[in-house]
């Protein structure tokens, strides 16, 4: 803290910049700014410095190049608190959807034999490289996720992870269940709440952008059985669950187990 202001950095790795955009688009930011000093935030501040000490470092994006792997280490050294923001930073993002295709394969499909002078790496969550203190989930996180996190920091507390699924919010909103009633492949039952069941509220099945609930209470196996009864194949189920959970080892393990059990 300098002159009573919180020193904030917002850093981007490989992403769509949606988390920063969500943050920058909040009208409340104008009330926050007088209490903060923006040390690094390239999207809005020309005088940004990536290697200065900060109180809170927000990181969006997956680590997808050698340079980014170095950058996150530097950010960790400089920051008191590191917050991973959004699906890319917390779960590796949609770019981690296909763990079966190697980097070489992807590279060849897109760039052929062309050489560029960068060192790409397979997309990974920030936590694979450094210790992360807190996480804001979502693609993008909701505005209230930002307000809640910053609010808790400013009063000397910290943001708690939500440990219940989207279904809870769906019930509270009084939506009809599109999984049970329409057979749509809704991932609400295993996805972390906090979005107020945004997509099911529009009659659109949840695709799991806030990631599977932690603490090993995301029951991929139970949901897989339900999907199976609705006519989905094992491969389809794993594929869907992995759009936003590409790095979660439980997906395959538990879905496989559920299918074995059914066969037995």
């Amino acid at each position: 803290m300098e002159n009573g202001k919180v020193r904030i950095g917002f850093y981007a790795l490989t992403s769509c910049y949606g988390c920063q955009l969500q943050f920058a688009m909040m009208d409340e930011i104008l009330q926050l700014i007088p209490n903060a000093e923006i040390v690094c935030w390239y999207m809005i501040e020309r005088d940004s410095y990536e290697d200065e000490p900060v109180d809170i470092a927000f990181i969006e994006g997956s680590v997808s190049t050698e340079e980014e792997a170095e950058l996150v280490k530097k950010i960790r050294e400089n920051a008191k608190i590191v917050v991973a923001v959004g699906a890319c930073a917390t779960q590796g993002g949609v770019q981690s959807w296909d763990q079966n295709k190697s980097l070489e394969e992807l590279w060849k499909a897109v760039y052929g034999d062309a050489k560029v002078k960068f060192q790409p790496k397979p997309a990974k969550p920030v936590e694979e490289y450094i210790k992360v203190d807190y996480r804001l989930y979502g693609c993008p996180p909701e505005k209230r996720d930002f307000l809640y996190a910053i609010g808790t920091f400013l009063v000397g507390s910290w943001p708690e992870d939500i440990d219940y699924p989207v279904c809870v919010e769906c019930r509270l909103k009084g939506n009809s269940c599109i999984l049970i009633e329409k057979g749509e492949p809704c991932l609400g039952p295993l996805t972390r709440a906090g979005c107020d069941a945004r997509c099911p509220g529009f009659n659109v099945a949840c695709i799991g952008c806030r990631g599977a609930i932690g603490y090993d209470v995301a029951w991929f196996d139970s949901l897989a059985k339900t999907f199976k009864n609705k006519g989905y194949t094992k491969e389809e189920i794993i594929e869907r669950m992995k759009i936003f959970n590409g790095h979660n080892p439980k997906v395959e393990e538990m879905v496989e187990a559920a299918f074995r059990e059914v066969e037995e």
């Binding site: 790795l13 769509c16 955009l21 501040e45 949609v94 052929g112 002078k117 945004r198």
Partner: protein, 429 residues
């Protein structure tokens, strides 16, 4: 021959979407080399969506970019629907364009007020302008909020709209909400005009003045707009969207994860708001047409800085057009949100005008899955031209204070409103 190299670099251009840098190499012969370095990692969108279910791939494509996620969603949707041989009803198409306009309004407002204006007023960061420029920041927020809210109501949210689906929408807002949208749009019109007047006063640097080839989607129904099935070139040539690969040739360059594009394989070209105005101003109507007539000399085809003013003109135009499109849908109210679609095999190309210019999606569907995908984004189209304009600026200023040159080079880049996350894209060769 001995060269003294003096690299002038901006490692990370601020106030643009994404991560890129500018490198200007000056030798004793003047400017030797200019490079826009794209330093974000690749995300291989086309490759990861190959073999995936169509609806899931469509949920993932918008994640290419947040500033124009609605543009990605709606262009991918159109390519997919063409591939499966489905045509949305007129009222659904009208409402999709309203959603797209929400993106256009938000993106232009953010770019003009938060990314461009601070340079002209001498600020490093728009949030510092609040005290001195309360009115401008107020208008910026109001326009931005209007665009976001339109996307919330029609798309489920302002970033990554899940409500636009194959066959239509998951759910539509009620009539009262659409009436309110019209009201808020008409209230925003004077603010859009104020924006135009404001940007008409800003300097367009003559250092970068020169002939430019402009490309823009030829709008359907001969009314200035977003959707179209052909591309017009400012030299009078026109080609169907399906032939994009023949006339917009991509090449990999070493210093960038994004490819560069050339018209007929040799000439850089520009796409974006100014290109739309240059090629299709005769299709404008309403207040925007009047403003165009009175400011033609500033909306000129020879300067990339005119892109800022062209965006301001579009704020006016699209605000009016959205009202008309909502009326079109209301005339058929109540509107059924969604039609059943049958996922057949096929191939479809969609070209639309995203906030930053032509966006191309080509999708082949086989057995309900994506068999082939090709996506080209406006910034990828623009990179070659952008480097040329930065070079022109550098040639006039390489003896100046490097800080001044850096700022001017950045301002050239910012006039293009580049979207670097978009450009780090993914095409098969």
């Amino acid at each position: 021959m001995k060269n003294l190299y003096l690299p002038i670099t901006v490692d990370h251009i601020a106030r643009v979407e994404g991560k890129g840098g500018v490198e200007i190499i000056v030798g004793d012969e003047g400017v030797q080399e200019v490079r826009i370095n794209i330093i974000e990692g690749p995300r291989f969108f086309e490759a990861i969506t190959i073999g995936k279910k169509l609806d899931e791939a469509l949920a993932v494509y918008p994640r290419i970019c947040s500033f124009c996620s609605a543009a990605h969603k709606l262009t991918a949707l159109e390519a997919a629907e063409k591939a499966i041989d489905f045509t949305p009803r007129e009222e659904i198409q009208a409402l999709r364009e309203v959603l797209y306009i929400g993106d256009m309004i938000e993106s232009h407002a953010l770019h003009l007020y938060l990314l461009v204006l601070p340079d002209y007023l001498g600020y490093s960061n728009p949030l510092k302008m609040v005290e001195e420029y309360k009115k401008e920041i107020g208008i910026a927020l109001e326009l931005k909020n209007l665009g976001s809210w339109m996307m919330d109501e029609l798309g489920s949210r302002a970033i990554h709209q899940e409500n636009a689906v194959l066959g239509g929408f998951g759910k539509l807002p009620d009539k009262a909400t659409l009436e309110l949208m019209k009201k808020r749009l008409s209230e925003a019109l004077p603010k859009a005009e104020y924006t135009f007047e404001l940007f008409a006063k800003l300097e367009q640097y003559e250092e970068v003045e020169g002939p430019i080839i402009h490309m823009a989607v030829k709008p359907r129904g001969d009314v200035y707009g977003i959707y179209g099935d052909a591309i017009s070139v400012s030299d009078g040539f026109e080609f169907p969207s399906e032939d994009y690969k023949m006339h917009m040739v991509e090449r990999v360059v070493e210093h960038s994860f994004a490819k560069h594009s050339f018209y007929n394989g040799e000439r850089p070209f520009m796409t974006g708001a100014i290109s739309r105005v240059v090629n299709h101003a005769d299709k404008l109507y309403g207040r925007a047409k009047e403003l165009y007539e009175s400011h033609r000399d500033l909306l000129r085809p020879t300067n990339p800085f005119a892109n800022n003013l062209a965006q301001a003109l579009e704020l006016v135009y699209f605000t009016e057009k959205a009202i008309d499109l909502i009326d079109e849908a209301l005339a058929k109210w109540p509107v059924r949100p969604r039609d059943e679609v049958e996922i057949r095999d096929g191939f479809g190309v969609s070209t639309t005008e995203a906030p930053r210019g032509i966006l191309v999606y080509a999708i082949e569907v086989k057995d309900g899955r994506v068999a082939y995908a090709d996506i080209i984004t406006p910034t990828a189209f623009n990179l070659a031209m952008m480097e040329q304009h930065v070079r022109m600026m550098a040639e006039k200023h390489y003896n100046d204070d490097p800080e001044r040159l850096k700022l001017l080079a950045e301002m050239v880049v910012r006039a293009y409103d580049p979207c670097i996350s978009c450009s780090v894209h993914v095409a098969r060769l």
